[in-house]
């Protein structure tokens, strides 16, 4: 073997083993499950919080591995806090348009407390000063006011598979909590707070055409993307502050003797680090003990469904730290039940939670913008002091944010570019847990701080002038408990925004915040549930488990998921994903005709047994009366999907028909002694014996069924209620007349 051939062989072997996510000639090698990620970044940060100025003073040692075959001549960093520097940053500009951004949009921002980060110095460890080489760039929109991405040109490039160590000094001014990060009085939620290196991707990685940095600006609707690493962070705060952070249990704690304490947190195999501090937290620590929380039956069931051995199903113990507001103390058990439920089911379904700790933060009033966020081993939830048990809050948000440990933390897709892969998968998973463990949620209206069961259905849209900022005025609410499942909540947003954008696009490219939410959370939930109903629960469970196992500690793409589905099911389901991911088309099947007419008597000239017979209507032999029943199902939407049609006859007989759903309509005809009563469309399924489920992506459920004879009772019942409501409203108003 020549030296050249030897070198080529070694290089090919390395490519095959070391870069398993790469594709070669369109074939995807089977990915080996990873126990740990490839460590690309190692951060050691010392930070001091000044609670008076709300500033952080930090020093950071970053070691970055160039895990590519490229020579890297520049580095790019996220400086997320600069999103809150002025009203012209990309984040704030987008937040101003169409209500983008968090909560109430930009109106919730405190314009007296801006946030920003100054990188005071950067130098190669024990080497050259790079401070003068730093410059802001705007790779997404060219907005010159945006300083959320910084580029540093290196005097010496980083060679392939080489490392570079940098020493960075920075000062961060925290904004008052608006979106995710900041302060509120003496509460601090410190996230996206340090100079954080972007992701260097080689050509071919995640479908890239050319190698380069993936380091997007901070957008109002986008989240994050980073390489896995090790974080060793020393946080100095006033001694009376309670601190929680990624890593959970402090490695060491040191009283500095000047009224401050330094706490060290350490965590491996994660791609971000966030922390919180406040003197007011109640800190509650409990342990998720797997053998107490997960029964043998649970494990046996999952072994059966997933076809995996016991050791791959069993879960590990987790220490859970809850930092809760004193006013929410009565909800501690609700929080822990939700957390334990999440650890159990996410673990059973997708694989055990690999970290030893989880920290859950309950933000105070005035800092709700910091709630409902996910960071590795550290999540923020949120609740109200008056939270009836029928409202699944804090349960819903807690389970959802924990779920991000799996969909974002462990399967680390690029949230900037394919938000549905974490938000959508997580919403799908959260909904299944909520339905399985908690049952239905209930609609509530908040009436001046009081939760009242009900659902607003009528409101007045006032003219902008002179009612600027008033919004719609509630006029009518149905003030009773209406149970709904999590997917129904998502469906309500989906049908309102289904046609705005196709799902596959970058987070900031959607028309508005509603479209972002619909396409990142709601539609993915529904399309995954639709897929589940089609494949069957067990097959879908294997799909999801396989996808998670393949891409744990990796950065998958949408195509990776589609390939996994096709692999596991042995089907080619591209027809489905093409329709629901790449277009904004909608699905709508309707039963448009259900009729039964008596079969007309034979009349005319018939050739029978070689003889010609003339029949008149009134000389027919007496016999059983027959009816010809017709049921027509139409595809009103553009998206096609297999359907099942359930037809009920007067004698109680049920007939189940299957239709591939591709034509525009299909008529089923029967001649029977009984008439048809009704027909209803359900989702098609691979399993003929499966129960009936609606096609959750259908935008109109009311037309999914039809009766032969109308029944006016429901309309009468609700109209009389409505009449009564109008009478009361008018009478009440007459008091002011």
């Amino acid at each position: 073997m020549t030296a050249r051939m030897f070198f080529i062989s070694v290089a090919l072997a390395w490519l095959w083993m070391g870069n398993p996510v790469h594709t070669f000639g369109g074939q995807r090698p089977t990915l080996m499950p990873l126990e740990h990620p490839k460590i690309i970044t190692r951060y050691r940060i010392e930070v001091t919080l000044d609670p008076h100025t709300k500033q952080l003073k930090g020093r950071e040692r970053l070691v970055w591995l160039n895990d590519s075959d490229d020579i890297v001549r520049e580095l790019q960093f996220h400086l997320y806090l600069n999103a809150f520097k002025n009203v012209d940053t990309t984040y704030m500009s987008e937040a101003r348009q169409n209500g983008r951004g968090f909560g109430r949009g930009i109106n919730a921002f405190d314009f007296e407390h801006w946030g920003y980060i100054d990188v005071e110095s950067m130098r190669i460890a024990d080497g050259e000063d790079l401070t003068d080489r730093m410059e802001f760039i705007q790779p997404d929109d060219g907005n010159p006011y945006d300083q959320t991405v910084m580029r540093v040109t290196l005097p010496e490039p980083v060679p392939p598979h080489g490392e570079i160590a940098l020493d960075i000094a920075f000062t961060a001014q925290l904004p008052r909590v608006f979106a995710r990060t900041g302060f509120h009085k003496d509460f601090f939620l410190v996230a996206q707070w340090f100079p954080k290196i972007g992701v260097y991707e080689e050509a071919g990685e995640r479908g890239r055409a050319q190698s380069g940095w993936n380091c997007h600006q901070f957008h109002a609707n986008s989240e994050f993307y980073a390489d896995y690493g090790i974080y060793d962070v020393f946080i100095t705060v006033p001694s009376n502050y309670i601190v929680g952070a990624t890593g959970g249990l402090p490695r060491q704690k040191r009283d500095n003797g000047d009224g401050t304490t330094t706490v060290e947190f350490y965590q491996e195999d994660v791609h971000d680090f966030a922390w919180t501090a406040s003197p007011r937290f109640i800190r509650v620590q409990r342990h998720f003990v797997a053998k107490d929380q997960v029964s043998d039956e649970d494990i046996a069931e999952m072994m059966r469904v997933l076809g995996l051995p016991r050791d791959q199903i069993e879960l590990g113990d987790v220490t859970v730290i809850l930092l809760i507001q004193p006013e929410h103390e009565d909800q501690i058990d609700r929080y822990f039940r939700a957390i334990f439920t999440a650890i159990k089911y996410f673990g059973l379904w997708y694989g055990r939670y690999p970290y030893r700790t989880l920290t859950v933060v309950d933000p105070p009033r005035g800092a709700r913008g910091a709630g409902g966020m996910e960071y590795p081993t550290f999540i923020t939830a949120g609740t109200n002091w008056w939270a009836p048990k029928r409202i699944l809050s804090p349960e819903g948000v807690t389970i959802h944010e924990f779920g991000h440990q799996y969909w974002y933390g462990l399967v680390a897709n690029n949230e900037f570019e394919e938000a549905w892969l974490d938000e959508g998968f997580n919403s799908y998973s959260t909904g299944r847990i909520l339905e399985k463990v908690y049952g239905p949620n209930h609609y509530y209206e908040w009436f001046w701080g009081v939760p009242i069961p009900g659902r607003r259905w009528l409101e007045i849209r006032l003219p902008r002038f002179p009612f600027v900022g008033w919004g719609p005025v509630p006029l009518g609410s149905y003030l009773q408990y209406i149970p709904f499942l999590d997917w129904q909540r998502r469906w309500s947003r989906y049908i309102a925004n289904a046609r705005l954008d196709p799902l596959r696009r970058a987070a900031w490219e959607y028309l508005n915040a509603d479209s972002y939410r619909t396409n990142s959370y709601d539609k993915p939930t529904l399309l995954l549930r639709t897929l589940e109903n089609y494949l069957g629960e067990a097959l879908m469970a294997r799909v999801m488990r396989t996808y998670h196992r393949r891409y744990r500690f990796r950065h998958p793409t949408t195509q990776d998921f589609i390939d996994t589905v096709n692999d596991v099911t042995g089907l080619d389901l591209d027809w489905y994903f093409d329709q629901v991911l790449s277009t904004a088309n909608t699905l709508d099947y309707a039963v448009t005709e259900v009729s039964s007419e008596p079969v007309p008597a034979e009349q005319g000239v018939y050739d029978r047994n070689g003889r010609r017979v003339v029949l008149e209507p009134n000389n027919q032999p007496e016999g059983e009366r027959l009816y010809r029943s017709r049921i027509t199902v139409r595809r009103l939407g553009t998206v096609a999907f297999p359907v099942r049609v359930d037809i009920l006859f007067e004698d109680g007989e049920r007939i189940r028909e299957h239709w591939d759903g591709r034509d525009r309509w299909r008529t089923f005809t029967y001649t029977k002694p009984t008439r048809v009563v009704s027909a209803e469309v359900f989702s098609g399924t691979l399993n003929p014996g499966a129960a009936n489920y609606p096609i959750l992506l259908d935008v109109d459920f009311a037309n999914n069924s039809r009766r032969r004879e109308p029944d006016r009772l429901p309309a009468l019942r609700w109209s009389s209620k409505f009449l009564f409501w109008v009478q009361n409203l008018l009478h009440q108003l007459s008091m002011f007349g």
Binding site: W386, W457, R707, P714, A715, Q727, S734, G737
Partner: protein, 321 residues
């Protein structure tokens, strides 16, 4: 000077028309004001003698409501009658149906709410005129007749419409001061509070204050209307001012009568809600029964409204000098 400005021009109170018993007639001596509870009772008795008036108010209310409810019935009929989702929505609304309806019929519902606003406005204007007829009949102490009813409208319709406009301005100001501006102030005050319960208490104190002042304003305009009729005065602004002065001078009895009758209304509503919770209208018979109970309740509210006018008018007659 017009007659209405002179106290002695107040039209005499026909005691026989409203007193429910011989004892009360005996109690109702001129110059000896009765306690508020007696006035409340007297209001009920007076309303009992004016059932036709309550009937008229109920009928007007029903006709106006039907204008909005009939298109709504057609909407529901189209949406529910042929679909199996209708059967599933009999007991309580099926979430899928409700969500779908709200989405697909958004423009219909928007136009429905706009129609409702206009109808409500028209109803309020009409109600101002109807009140003139009602108070004219009550002031005369006679039984209901359309002739007297319309005479009242013709005689006092102008001032009542002016009172209506003044009252709208007053309600707007009350709302602006005690809701909008006060809330802005409270927002600023509680912005940095950690305590949700503290902020909640603060906002509810504001809400209660707003409700008390709004109801107080309603009461003042009730007395303004009574003054216009009894004093035969066309001067709406002046009568409003005098009504305000009257309420201020007789705060306790006016409030007790007002809230006493309000309490009766609350009991009535609770009774209805109790009945409503007893059965779910899942058959035609039960739907009809439910409708009858609802209309009975609405009639009772009209009857109570007449009772309000009777009791307040009696109070004014007794203490208005």
């Amino acid at each position: 000077m017009i007659a209405g400005n002179q106290p002695d021009a107040i039209r005499p109170w026909p005691v026989h028309a409203v007193a429910s018993s011989e004892e009360e007639i005996a109690e109702a001596k001129p110059g000896a004001p009765r306690p508020p509870w007696a006035l409340v009772k007297s209001g009920f008795a007076g309303a009992n003698t004016q059932l036709r008036l309550a009937c008229l108010l109920w009928a007007i209310n029903l006709v106006f409501a039907l204008v909005v409810a009939i298109p709504f019935f057609h909407l529901l009929d189209e949406s529910l009658s042929r679909s199996l989702i209708g059967q599933r929505s009999l007991r309580f609304p099926d979430a899928n149906w409700l969500i779908g309806l709200l989405n697909s019929q958004r423009s219909f519902l928007d136009s429905l709410s706009a129609t409702l606003v206009w109808i409500a406005l028209f109803y309020m204007v009409l109600n101002a005129l109807v009140s003139a007829g009602v108070l004219e009949i009550l002031a005369g102490g006679s039984r209901f007749s359309f002739r007297q009813f319309f005479q009242g409208i013709v005689r006092h319709g102008g001032p009542f419409l002016r009172l209506f406009i003044i009252s709208l301005v007053a309600y707007f100001l009350v709302f602006l001061l005690f809701h909008d501006l006060l809330e802005k102030g409270l927002n600023a005050l509680s912005r940095d509070w950690y305590s949700e319960a503290g902020a909640f208490s603060l906002y509810w104190a504001k809400n209660i204050l707003l409700a008390v002042i709004l109801l107080g304003t309603v009461m003042i305009f009730d007395y303004a209307k009574i003054r216009v009729v009894l004093e035969n005065s066309p001067r709406a602004v002046l009568e409003t001012a005098k009504a305000f002065r009257f309420v201020r001078h007789h705060l306790r009895p006016t409030l007790l009568v007002f809230y006493g009758l309000g309490l009766a209304g609350a009991i009535l509503t609770l009774a209805y809600l109790g009945l409503d919770a007893l059965f779910a209208p899942t058959s035609l018979g039960l739907v009809i029964l439910g409708f009858l109970v609802q209309q009975l309740y609405m009639f009772s509210r009209m009857w109570l409204r007449v009772a309000f006018y009777v009791a307040e008018m009696e109070l004014y007659r007794e203490r208005g000098h």
